[in-house]
């Protein structure tokens, strides 16, 4: 019978990673200078678990750029003025694992799943081949608001295994069948005896996360404020439309499709795009329905907290706080939602003025 819980002592952690690396393309949070980012594992990797990585590991399953298909144009023998087109699809992904991402990152995948799993074969095949081994957070980090979206520093959604750091080792909990397979390893001790300690840590971390707004998944967004131009103009006065928020976000999934060609062959690629860029919705005629940054930021917040919930029944934000932490002008999406939600007191006008603070 497969184990539900495991334990690895502190000095066994590196061996655990090395053994995973033998079975999977392994991605771990590595330290490069002052930045922590997910990179493929190798023996010299400087792995850092002190704090969440700068960017989410979203790119492992939903790559920043990937080839949808390649094409080749061949001249027809009988009429060299005409070309034949040949389309080729790319190969299958390999077994992959991501280790020590945070629950907000893993939850990001469970937010992307309903969008892509039944429609997009590229996402689906990578997702099916990836094992997610998440590290619970011992405390909140600047900007974090996971509990406001009904997540938590030990949220299991999207994960196959949840790891909780204890004083003398790591407690592992299997969340899915894939997770149980990971724990089915002689090098991992039985974890049942550590469960209580781990749960205590998880609860303590949960209680330390400040609530930015109430209502959780059912947070009620005021229609009046959502549609108020004045509210969004005031809120976005300081925004630079830099787009950093969308590239670091575990749940942003807007993309672009472009053809890249050299002479007679090329590829159609999908690449990350950002709703915050001015030309995102620019039409050939020159008309742009979201020409103002107020409209674009309304789209970003609206998408995560109104439109995605309408389509998929869950919030489209995992509360990771990266967009707040890395924003050059301290835009706080959690605060905007608080102001938008009906709990925000006063009229829309007051909220608009308050939005500037």
């Amino acid at each position: 019978m497969k184990r539900e819980a495991g334990f690895i002592p502190k000095d066994g952690w590196n061996a655990f990673l090395a053994s995973l690396a033998k079975r999977f393309n392994l991605y771990v949070p590595c330290r490069e200078g002052e930045t922590i980012l997910f990179q493929p594992y190798h023996a010299e990797s400087v792995i850092c678990l002190d704090r969440p990585a700068a960017s989410a590991p979203k790119g492992v399953i939903f790559p920043q750029s990937e080839t949808l298909f390649s094409f080749e144009l061949k001249k027809k023998a009988e009429d060299p003025r005409k070309v034949d087109v040949e389309l080729k699809s790319e190969g299958a992904p390999q077994d992959t694992a991501i280790v020590a991402l945070r629950p907000c990152d893993a939850r990001g995948f469970s937010i992307l799943d309903p969008v892509y799993m039944d429609v997009d074969p590229y996402y689906r095949s990578r997702r099916e081949k990836t094992t997610i081994i998440t590290l619970a957070c011992p405390n909140p980090y600047p900007g974090c608001f996971c509990t406001s979206v009904e997540s938590s520093p030990a949220d299991k959604s999207g994960s196959d295994v949840l790891v909780t750091e204890l004083d003398n080792g790591y407690f592992l909990e299997a969340v899915t069948e894939k997770g149980r397979t990971i724990l089915d390893d002689n090098a991992i001790q039985d974890g049942a005896g550590y469960k209580e300690e781990a749960e205590g840590r998880q609860k303590a971390a949960h209680d330390r996360v400040k609530k930015a707004f109430s209502g959780g998944k059912k947070v009620k967004i005021s229609q009046e404020r959502l549609l108020s131009d004045e509210f969004w103009e005031e809120t976005t006065a300081k925004c630079l439309s830099c787009g950093a928020c969308t590239y670091l976000c575990p749940t942003c999934y807007c993309f672009n499709i472009t053809d890249e060609q050299t002479v007679n062959r090329g590829e159609r690629i999908r690449s990350w795009d950002s709703c915050m860029f001015p030309h995102f919705t620019l039409e050939t005629s020159g008309h742009n329905p979201r020409t103002k940054k107020a409209q674009r930021f309304k789209q970003r917040v609206g998408h995560k907290f109104v439109y995605y919930p309408e389509q998929y029944g869950d919030l489209g934000c995992s509360g990771c706080g990266r967009c707040i932490r890395f924003c050059p002008i301290s835009m706080e999406i959690s605060k905007v939602v608080a102001k938008l939600s009906e709990e925000g007191e006063g009229s829309t006008k007051d909220a608009a003025e308050g939005a500037r603070s």
Binding site: L68, L73, S89, V119, N256, T281, T284
Partner: protein, 276 residues
């Protein structure tokens, strides 16, 4: 393994008709005969045409599902992809990803009077439904078509306009923004002509497509003429990439123009506070 929605079918151009100095109509057939034979779509649905190496753009499937010898697309030269399409010749290949989007709710239009109001290339999606209705003539009441363009040289489907004008069961009213000497066509912007024709709203559905500014005023005038929000239908455009409601560009709130549209009723647009 789920079907890959990003890979187009290869198709060959059989015929090109030059409609106006900037608009060409392309008649294509899918290279795979079994896929061409099995191809089904509804009037109003669109397709993404690919020129490999350049990109894709969205066009309504211009021919009706009752006439499936070829698929027709009318393309106005405007940007990178449309310019590349205009440079193709008969026998050249392109990619077709279709059918996408929703379609005209023709079932609920049965037995009613229909008023089509089109401008310029906006006649393209209307043509699909007009031909579909003419092919199922008994199902629909009297049909009125109000169509205008800048000048009579800018009319699309000149041959068909002539045919429709000659039919007893179709009322065709043509107009131009600016008349030319010798051409016996009424002068006036489409929304103004609509007011002059003043179709009665009872048991009537109004369907309009054209430049955004024209649609805006036509919708206003239809409401003033007494048409209900649910009886006014239009099609919207946006910058599109995936065509299947994923890439996040063409949405109005939680509705995607590519997937939940491009056909919408005024009732829907009003409920979303959408302004043309």
């Amino acid at each position: 393994m789920i079907e890959n929605p990003y890979i187009p079918d290869l198709a060959t151009i059989n015929e090109i008709i030059v409609e106006t100095p900037t608009i060409k109509t392309f008649r294509v057939t899918l290279n795979d005969p079994s896929r061409m034979e099995a191809f089904r779509f509804e009037p109003g649905q669109v397709g993404q045409l690919s020129v490999f190496g350049v990109g894709e753009a969205t066009f309504v499937i211009n021919s009706p599902p009752t006439r499936r010898d070829f698929l027709q697309f009318s393309v106005m030269k405007a940007g990178e992809v449309t310019t590349a399409i205009h440079e193709l010749a008969v026998g050249d290949q392109l990619g077709v990803r279709a059918p996408l989007g929703n379609y005209f709710p023709y079932e609920s239009m049965k037995g009613k009077k229909i008023v089509f109001i089109g401008g310029g290339i906006g006649l393209a999606p209307l043509r699909t439904l007009i031909l579909f209705m003419l092919d199922n003539r008994a199902d629909y009441g009297p049909i009125t078509i109000i169509y205008g363009a800048r000048t009579h040289n800018d009319y699309c489907y000149k041959e068909e306009l002539k045919e429709w004008g000659e039919r007893k069961d179709v009322e065709l009213i043509l107009t131009v923004d600016a008349g030319s000497p010798g051409a016996p066509i009424r002068e006036g912007f489409v929304p103004t002509v609509l007011n002059e024709v003043a179709p009665k709203p009872e048991e009537t559905i109004a369907i309009t497509c054209g430049p955004p500014i024209m649609i805006k005023f036509v919708l206003q005038n239809l409401v003033k003429l007494g048409f209900g929000e649910k009886e006014i239908i239009t099609t919207l455009e946006a910058r599109m990439k995936c065509g299947i409601g994923l890439c996040g560009r063409c949405n109005i709130g939680s509705h995607f123009i590519c997937k939940d549209g491009p056909v919408f009723s005024l009732a829907q647009l009003n409920s979303w506070n959408y302004e043309i």
